[in-house]
């Protein structure tokens, strides 16, 4: 029954004023209101979150609104939180001091805190909100937190894997087991997302090795109550290993000729099936179709099984897809990065045909930039049918980094490096880095600036400014080279790249020891040198981080002496190939490296010549092998001091064979071993008139062998080398032990 709303009387309010409550209730003085309207008013007042209890009752011509206000929060604090500090918790909590307290929101905030703990791996954390009543209807809100221990993954085991061992599959999966420094690692805590990622990693691994029917049938995690850890078990069904069979193309879109597309199939029947290779072929085919103006053709591989011969026959069908255009590409979340730096990674442009594959590739390219924590390219219906709007949501991550490294070699002692870099300078995608490396025998300062995409094309340009000072006790001289090296670089193909540079530098050799070889004495002095050079690299390794197959080749050529100074051509070439045995547990690599310096005025200087030893020829000190001016009581002012100076060489060639393998320790310790052998020599000088008469600069073969121990620690990958020369010259200087921490580049 409806009632005329005469006067609206408000009772029980202390902080919120009568008018405010009348406005909130939405009741109009003098209007007619039925029970539904009164209930609506009640609901509206509740929704403000200001009141613990509300009643709206008509009494005679008047409507009485009675409220009990929510207490105001005086302070919020958190008890029992060690791992996450108060600020981190405050961020996820919606209630603030001085706001009205409501039980519902406090419960929701407690839930939010619990969720935050779950994400950082503490599944069994509990959070209970408690109120302490104060006078004046005020309360203190306290969240009582019991964090519980981190839920680590104790052991990962597999059921149903015949082709690959548990150890190998563990390496495939990112969730390392709870290692020694587990509280440091964040990646071995158990969370759902990571488990999905692990399943995907397993699937990709098997699909690339011919196991078409591979499935993770179950991934169970038993929770070990007492040790607060999980035992992860993946039940997998490998299925048979298949090879590629007959491959063909059927074109349903008029105007495309099948032969052109068939030519793109670069896989021969009998080769082991690989999802990556198949994907590559589909990619090339759709790109070719695009180039021919058939923007809407979709390439779908139809698979039929030849069970008898264990082969998979694939027929690539080219069908005309629906005509959908890209209407807009909207980029969001780029608070630092400039719009253009993201947009230029898209080959598709607004108004082009919609192409899902290109969007996935663009997403990969954006992730590869390393600027973003998360990249999501999503598509939604545009303003008309046949129109698609692409939204690119990015979440940026800090791109500044400060890394440390150190190396110890018995001849050079300890050298420490500090490098400070920013990969996304001013959000323009430019990279700047400053590196300081100093040690007993060397000081290097270098600053580097790179603009990766000049005019947003695949042309990178930049410069390095450097100051390099080396003390060669073994040659009693110091060399200093300070200069500038601008460069440009661009890709020649998918796997190869060319970089061209100009080097302008001031080179100085000064003698630091009276008993110095006259050859080096003559080379002392300062020169201005100007040179141009290029580096060509072809990288066909299957992974740049830990390659187990493929090869990498690089050629570096430099012409120097354009503006006077030493005039020479210097060429260096390196080729390294990888292979693996025992399902990629043992990795073998063979490397051949050679270099030649050809002078146009039959003279060369130590600073330009090649020096071997230390890392480049294990078992020998730096400069420990190659032509050497050695004699007793033949040098120095009075001709009474001994001379023992390494002279470097104009030519060098080295072959390095290496094998790395697990040493039976649990893989999570990250310790594995290696053996290696180096064979080669350093030879040829222009000036051989030394203190010991004519210096022997002929090709004298050296070789050495040794073992190494690798340990992936939290600070960085540690490498210990123990090497012993086998074939050497009497005057060579040996080096048995060497350790380096590889800094991350």
């Amino acid at each position: 029954q409806a009632v005329r709303v005469g006067q609206i009387v408000v009772e029980g309010n202390r902080r919120v004023e009568d008018d405010t409550i009348r406005v909130f209730s939405g009741l109009e003085q003098g209007a007619v209101a039925d029970t539904a309207e009164l209930n609506a008013a009640l609901q509206r007042l509740f929704d403000t979150g200001l009141f613990e209890d509300v009643s709206v009752t008509p009494a005679g011509g008047r409507v009485v609104i009675e409220v009990v206000e929510n207490p105001t929060i005086n302070f919020i604090n958190y008890e029992g939180n060690q791992r996450l500090d108060d600020d981190a918790l405050a961020e996820v909590v919606s209630l603030r001091a001085r706001q009205p307290f409501s039980r519902a929101r406090a419960e929701a905030d407690a839930q939010a805190i619990q969720q935050l703990y779950a994400q950082s791996g503490r599944i069994n954390a509990t959070v209970v909100p408690k109120i302490i009543r104060l006078d004046d209807n005020r309360v203190n809100l306290v969240y009582e937190i019991r964090e519980g221990a981190i839920t680590e993954v104790q052991r990962i085991s597999f059921v149903g894997n015949e082709a690959y061992s548990d150890r190998r599959l563990r390496r495939v999966i990112e969730t390392g087991q709870a290692g020694l420094l587990s509280w440091l690692f964040t990646n071995d805590t158990y969370n759902q997302e990571r488990l999905e990622l692990d399943k995907q990693l397993l699937r990709d691994f098997y699909l690339d090795r011919g196991y078409v029917d591979f499935q993770v049938t179950a991934a169970s995690a038993e929770f070990a109550r007492e040790r607060d850890a999980f035992f992860l078990t993946f039940r997998i069904d490998e299925g048979a290993q298949w090879d590629f069979g007959q491959m063909g193309v059927t074109v349903f879109a008029p105007g495309l000729n099948e032969a052109e597309f068939a030519a793109l199939i670069n896989v021969r029947p009998g080769e082991t099936y690989s999802a990556k290779k198949l994907d590559r072929i589909v990619e090339r085919m759709s790109f070719l179709a695009g180039q021919k103006g058939f923007a809407f053709v979709e390439v779908t591989p139809r698979v039929t099984r030849d069970v008898a011969r264990g082969r998979v026959n694939i027929d690539f069908e080219l069908i005309e897809g629906p005509r959908v255009f890209v209407e807009r590409i909207d980029i969001r979340g780029n608070r630092e990065t400039v719009d253009r730096v993201i947009r230029r990674e898209f080959r598709v442009v607004e108004g082009d045909a919609f192409n899902a594959r290109e969007l996935r590739e663009a997403e990969q390219r954006l992730r590869a930039l390393g600027f973003f924590e998360r990249v999501e390219v999503r598509v939604r219906e545009g303003s008309a049918p046949g129109r698609a709007i692409i939204t690119v949501d990015v979440e940026e991550r800090p791109t500044g980094s400060l890394t440390f490294g150190a190396a110890y070699g018995s001849s050079e002692g300890i050298t420490g490096t500090v490098s400070l870099s920013e990969r996304n300078f001013l959000g323009r995608g430019q990279a700047i880095s400053l590196e300081l490396a100093s040690g007993a025998e060397s000081n290097v300062v270098s600053f580097r600036f790179v603009e990766p995409k000049v005019f947003d094309q695949n042309l990178s340009a930049g410069f390095t400014a450097f100051y390099r000072e080396f003390e060669y006790d073994e040659s009693s001289i110091n060399t200093t080279r300070a200069g500038l090296q601008p460069f440009v670089g661009f890709p020649l193909s998918e796997d190869s790249r060319l970089s061209v540079r100009l080097r302008v530098s001031q080179d100085k050799i000064d003698v630091v020891d009276s008993a110095v070889s006259p050859i080096l004495q003559r080379e002392a002095g300062e020169e201005f040198s100007l040179g141009v050079g290029f580096t060509y690299t072809l990288d066909k390794r299957n992974s740049p981080i830990d390659p187990t197959a493929g090869f990498i080749f690089s050629l570096d050529q430099e012409l120097n002496g354009l503006g006077g100074g030493p005039q020479y051509s210097k060429t260096t070439a390196t080729a390294r190939t990888y292979t693996s045995l025992f399902d990629e547990e043992v990795v073998l690599s063979a490397e051949v490296e050679g270099g030649a310096l050809v002078s146009f005025n039959d003279e060369s200087r130590f600073i330009d010549r090649f020096v071997l030893g230390g890392d480049s020829f294990r078992g020998f000190e730096r400069g420990g092998l190659g032509p050497r001016d050695v004699c007793t009581a033949c040098g120095g002012t009075g001709g009474t001091e001994n001379v023992n100076d390494a002279l470097g060489g104009n030519m060098f060639a080295v072959a390095r064979l290496e094998a790395t393998f697990p040493v039976g320790l649990p893989p999570d310790l990250g310790i594995y071993g290696g053996v290696f052998a180096d064979v080669g020599s350093l030879w040829s000088l222009y000036d051989t008139a030394g203190a010991s008469g004519t210096v022997d600069d002929s090709f004298n073969l050296r070789s050495s062998a040794g073992v190494s121990l690798f340990w992936d620690t939290a600070i960085g990958p540690l490498r210990f080398n123990f090497a012993r020369p086998i074939v050497k010259e009497s005057f060579d200087e040996e080096e048995f032990f060497r350790v380096t921490i590889d800094t991350r580049f």
Binding site: F24, R98, N137, R335, E350, G351, G427, Q430, D456
Partner: protein, 257 residues
Amino acid sequence: CAGGDGNLPPVESRSAQDLYLAAEKELQTGRPVNAGRLFDEVERLYPYSEWAKRAMIMSAFSYYDAKRFGEARAAAERYLDFYPADEDAAYAQYLVALSYYDQIADVSRDQTLTFDALQALRETIERYPDSDFTKSAQLKFDLALDHLAGKEMDIGRYYLKKKHYTAAINRFRVVVQDFPTTRHTAEALHRLVEAYLSLGLTEEAQTAGAILGYNHRGTQWYQDSYALLTGQGLTLDPAGDSWLSRIHRQVIQGKWL
């Protein structure tokens, strides 16, 4: 725990008025953050006093003055929760809008804050139509809109430079159709002339030129379009287009064209 010099009695025991006046002094002596904290104490200790209401709006203003936009917005929104119909409510709403507006990033970056500012400014104008902040809210609303048009232009110029004329045309059309009153419309029309001529669609170029002439005859953009359309070619300062100055402008200054 709050500011104030050491020798004053602890906050708990000071009266609302005493705290309020101390906060006001802090504000006048150029310490807005301390002022904000003291105003908060007034509200915390004496929520039901008349001072609490004043303190809440003053705390919002102090934090805004100290460019602490997050805290300013929180205080202003709390004021609106409790006193939506009060005379300072308009100012509180306006402070919320300003706290977004002052953080708007330049056009080449994420514009979520611009949308938030527009939203809050519209609420200021619609909920408090005749407050004395409505006019400046209206002005800032237009500027924020102008900023969104600037973003469309930034992307349009990117595609224009890369010779993707259809993409560029569609972006400039968005400016002409959805942001007609902004400062960018004139340039958008000139860019349309440039893009249509590059495609060879001369009538469309002339249509765009005509609209430019009709609405924006006094602008330099009109002169540029007129020159293009009547075929005399655009006068370009010689240094403007040398290869090196383009590198300098783009790599060092980050300017794009």
